[in-house]
Symmetry: C2
Subunit: 321 residues, 2 copies
């Protein structure tokens, strides 16, 4: 069995080879560029961990892990177009470095190559994994659509936001773990708990993400907090504040969002603190993390096999950057 | 056995149901809109015809045909963004009616739904059909990329253009036929001939397309010919003319393309005629059509089973609109 860090290294070494033919270079070179700017490779490592929970790594797990990482990068490439993002991991996005048509078509072909990796799976695993992959891929698109829809709305509830986060980010982590479990021969029941572990962990991860963006220590966080506040981004914190603040504070919050005055970030943070949003967020994160651990405990394998996944959960959610 | 027209009707009746969930409507409603503006459904009918060449229609053939038609529409939706096309089949394109992000994401999810139909296939057929589908999908993207690359170049050879057409349009027709053949239990050898029938027919079809745009009878063609000439589009005709014209005619052609004077279409058509481009195109089309028929003849089934495909080939290539 391997730790998360070890599996990231094992996966990365295999993944760093090119996944595309040489020609047409105008189509494939941007794909190589984007994959080379890096990434944490959390999802493929999660796939391998889900697999090791039940036994030795199945050779097909590398194909599934590769398909998942390619799919994830395809969504990032297209999301960057929709969000008009100029930077990704500190480097120019594909549509910025090349153009939108390239980012669009290179993304498309990257998704198809993901399916080429899936097509390599043993006949016995292929239908089940393909179905889970498809369902998840569709949900990720739905999550992105909801995210864009919510930008246009002023009445998004916390429940709706959680559902969007679940679709946009959690289900892919959950499915990564579950595909590994399937290759490990896990029962339906165990697969369910592995999936739910990932789904809850994914939400806890996003709560932490939103929390750090507002309350993170600038030195550890690596950038000035408050980016989400400056952009009026809907986050766990903002949506909860709008739900619990008294009328004067709620009106002040809405006015700050509309007028974008100097010192807005500090004023919004003050309201957040007055409404105990920080404490609430830490509790919410802990609730989802507890749920994740609860499902991990319910997986019917020896507790020794679960150590690395339990550590990963705590690591992802306790991180300060 | 059914004629092409009958199979289009049988397929369309099944296909006209919705392929998407209701929510989020912002994601799926544009997909329904696009599928409802119609289309000739040539590829799914070809899949069913490839299947009937070898026996009764396999129930999975409808899933494959649906996947192919959804994939085709996904490519159209994304191509329309890249080409900045405002109309498709006389109706507003998705990015015009909604916006680019919608066309991008709805296209993505349409491709995923195509794979959901493939995931329904019998275990015995799934790997082979998935592999052919993936390879073809990747080639279609490569064809679109070459098409965009060629727009920026002034030295595209006829050979390069044929390869682009092959990738952008022929391979999907060829693969549609072959997936049907696979479901019909065809041997490798028969699959090869069915594929080559489609590949050659696809090229002949495109030659006819280019020919009609220049020399079509306006009354039968349904619109004023010369659209490609007005847009300086690289076509079989233009690339051949540039290869065979003498220096004065070649220079005149290039000048007309650069200066876009009034009466340009008539002047370009005159040069085309002086260079016998019309006759050459009719011959070229016939050569590819002959190749297609040659491969159809080589398929080891009774000639009675081939009648509908042979008629389809002649119909697609003899059409005047």
């Amino acid at each position: 069995m391997h730790s998360f860090k070890e599996l990231v290294e094992i996966f990365s070494e295999k993944f760093n080879a090119s996944h595309f033919p040489a020609q047409p270079a105008t189509l494939y070179e941007p794909g190589n560029y984007f994959l080379n700017i890096g990434g944490k490779r959390i999802r493929p490592a999660a796939c391998l961990m889900g697999n090791e929970l039940f036994g030795e790594i199945h050779p097909n797990a590398y194909d599934v892990a590769t398909a998942i990482e390619l799919f994830h990068n395809f969504t990032l490439m297209h999301d960057d177009i929709m969000d008009k993002a100029t930077l990704r991991r500190g480097q120019p996005t594909v549509h910025t470095k090349y153009n939108e048509s390239t980012a669009l078509l290179t993304g498309d072909v990257m998704m198809i190559v993901a399916y080429e990796y899936l097509a390599r799976l043993d006949k016995n695993f292929l239908p089940r994994i393909l179905q889970l992959f498809n369902k998840t891929a569709r949900e990720v698109c739905e999550g992105q659509q909801l995210d864009m829809d919510f930008e246009q709305r002023n009445n998004v509830s916390l429940t709706e936001y959680i559902r969007m986060i679940e679709l946009k980010t959690s289900v892919l982590l959950a499915a990564s773990l579950q595909t590994g479990a399937i290759l490990g021969g896990a029962s339906e029941g165990n697969c369910h708990h592995v999936y739910e572990f990932g789904r809850n962990l994914g939400i806890a991860f996003q709560v932490q993400d939103d929390y750090l963006d507002a309350f993170g220590d600038p030195e550890k966080f690596g950038k000035e907090p408050g980016g989400d506040i400056r952009q009026n981004k809907k986050t766990f914190l903002l949506l909860h504040a709008l739900e619990v603040a008294d009328t004067p504070r709620k009106e002040k919050l809405l006015r700050l969002m509309q007028e974008n005055p100097a010192g807005k970030v500090q004023q919004v943070l003050s309201i957040f603190r007055e409404c105990n949003v920080d404490e609430w967020a830490r509790n919410l994160k802990q609730q989802y993390l507890n749920q994740a651990h609860h499902h991990l405990e319910a997986v019917a394998v020896t507790s020794k096999r679960k150590i690395h996944l339990a550590q990963l959960a705590d690591f992802l959610v306790a991180r300060e950057h």
